[in-house]
Symmetry: C2
Subunit: 391 residues, 2 copies
């Protein structure tokens, strides 16, 4: 039987991202019971800090007991009933996933399909909403991990609420890396993951639900089809009655608590700014190397950068060499972009200039070794970096 | 903002149980990507060790990404379709939960209701199966955490398979604490949790599915209604294609790997024997103190002991004093037994004679302080313990 072997990687893919020592050490603390007042105090504290990063006053703000996708499931299974009309914006794999999940729940799904790398305009949204006046819910990914596109959502909640529908937003690759601003933006149901910009391990899905959405829960025609994701029952555990529902992932809650504290200590604005600044440096570096970014600057996501693989370069070989020879993880493309792009994460604890420099030098070295000679040398890169780093 | 405060408790309730240092330290290791070959090797290793503790050769043996209840949800949502007839044995809260979850999925649920503290006989089962010849699935809890009853399941699979149904078994409070013997007993779908006798933190739900059940998956009339718990998709990630489904809870997997290694190193028989021996000692100690056990010896569960609260004793006050003054957690009763019993766990790393002695002495001290004077003194207890400990 093999002994647990965990090499030390630099995680610069689209998640999971590196987890700081303090957060990993928090996970090693002794287990508490899920009804222990000391644990309930931690749960309260996590909720309070989640409200800060989400930008919300929503009472029901908490981590779902599962990974990011569990947050998606929780969001849909509670707010979609069989026969409901649901509009899903599909600009990538995670939008497709929302549509798939809603369909499995028996919804009539109207898909707004946008080519990979592009955004959905408010006009497109309104057109589809006009075609489907009975829409109950609009689901959209704010930061598409598969394309590296940041979907603008200004004005969406007005357009959606005017028609009596709810706005569900996937913020998995946004939360902690940029303002999400739930209350000001009028998002009704929002989920995320811990393993991206929050710099905690995968295993919890932060979520927040406003009063408009809670009112919808009261109108349900049938009980929620999932026992595990039954929001009314979970709200009871989080509320005054503390009624037992399921055993929370105790150690994961310690990790999230610590990770959120680190963000609060650094300051939300400083954390967001760091993500943005490091992403800009990465872009400058990649372009200095002669590589081409997939998404125009106006809609480019800071937390996941998508870059075109140069002609004749073997996607898998390069990623394998980066991993084996340089201990760096980046990811390939998904769907129509499989084999065509790499995805580089600028997330959480990984969002540091030094990491980007390490990646660029290593990528350059591997590409050279693979016979792909790009115009700029490492020295040009270093100059660029020095310049950007000083800004 | 409060600092993460984690007091050191002796967890002797029905879960979570104490987690050994080595397991907690494993969780603090650096994060790996979910597609990293080093992580996939750990997943393979966990699967192999789970097969050992489950007593199965089932290829599809893995941890569900959620707590024990997520294992229940995964088991039901894949193997129950709307309109299916499902027989659920309900001898406690966790049987009720199975019935509730199956109903939410649109099943016609035939409940075999057994009073708290009793078992369901094979004759009772067969009678209900005869009344419902279209039964597709029978769901039963092997170790009822709410009552402390061990449900005998000998001969059940024959009776159930003869009628073309599947046998789903909840082994949350059994796995790791006693033989579960999946293949020999003919269980088709089995789930468990990590936070009981496996001595890992809550956050994963070990599960195993045999070929008979997998064949049933092929016959489904509709896709599984849950995206997150879609077994066919998860089987692809576990299989040769390694197709990405969702990001696994990486650190939890390290913990489970280490916890299973500790069990394998101690030896399965030795671990089971330790649980049994320590439970026997606890029972002897409680009875020496003049307390009354709820379940007759023949069906008494070794991993959770239920004990009657003496007349006039305040349930909550005693548990609160145990927690605050002695740092020991035990639990109260659920449902009809709320306020009437205490539940004491003999599980995993907590299943040690010294822990039981600590609990008994502390409980005795609190009961004395609460004015409940039981016949035997601490000295009698110590004698009993010395005797049992020597056996």
């Amino acid at each position: 039987m093999a002994r647990l072997h965990v090499p030390d990687r630099l995680l610069l893919g689209p998640g999971p991202s590196p987890v700081p020592d303090q957060v990993r050490e928090a996970m090693a603390k002794p287990i508490l019971g899920h009804m222990d007042p000391a644990f309930l105090a931690i749960v309260d504290d996590v909720q309070e800090k989640l409200r800060l990063v989400f930008g919300t006053q929503n009472r029901l703000t908490f981590p779902v007991s599962g990974t990011g996708s569990a947050g998606m499931e929780m969001s849909l299974v509670n707010f979609v009933e069989p026969g409901d009309t649901v509009v899903v914006v599909q600009q990538g794999i995670f939008g497709q996933r929302l549509a798939d999940a809603a369909q499995r729940l028996g919804a009539h799904v109207a898909v707004i399909s946008v080519p990979f790398g592009e955004i959905c305009t408010t006009a497109q949204l309104e057109e589809v909403l006009d075609q489907h006046p009975d829409t109950r819910l609009v689901a959209v990914v704010k930061a598409e991990t598969s394309t590296g596109v940041l979907q603008p959502l200004e004005g969406w909640s007005d357009a959606i609420h005017r028609r009596g529908a709810l706005l569900l937003v996937d913020t998995v690759t946004a939360l902690g890396g940029m303002p999400v601003d739930v209350d000001n933006q009028g998002f009704d149901v929002v989920f995320s993951g811990t393993q991206k910009c929050l710099a905690a391990p995968p295993g919890l899905a932060p979520m927040t639900v406003n009063e408009r959405a809670l009112a919808r829960l009261q109108e349900r025609r049938e009980p929620v089809s999932s026992w595990y994701f039954d929001l009314p029952a979970i709200a009871q555990y989080l509320g005054k009655s503390r009624a037992y529902h399921h055993t929370a992932p105790i150690s994961m809650m310690y990790a999230l608590d610590r990770a959120l504290s680190l963000i609060v200590e650094e300051g939300l604005d400083a954390v967001w700014d760091r993500h943005r600044r490091v992403a800009e440096s990465l872009w400058a570096g990649l372009e200095a190397m002669g590589l081409q970014l997939m998404v125009p600057r106006a809609h480019r996501l800071s937390t996941v950068t998508t870059v075109r693989i140069p002609d004749g370069v073997d996607d898998r070989r390069v990623r394998q060499r980066l991993l084996e020879e340089h201990q760096i993880e980046i990811a390939g493309g998904l769907g129509p972009w499989a084999g065509k792009i790499w995805r580089i994460g600028v997330m959480g604890h990984g969002a540091r200039l030094s990491n980007m420099m390490t990646l660029l030098v290593s990528l350059r070295t591997v590409l050279d070794a693979e016979g792909c000679h790009l115009p700029s040398g490492l020295s040009a890169l270093e100059d660029t970096y020095r310049k950007v780093g000083q800004e």
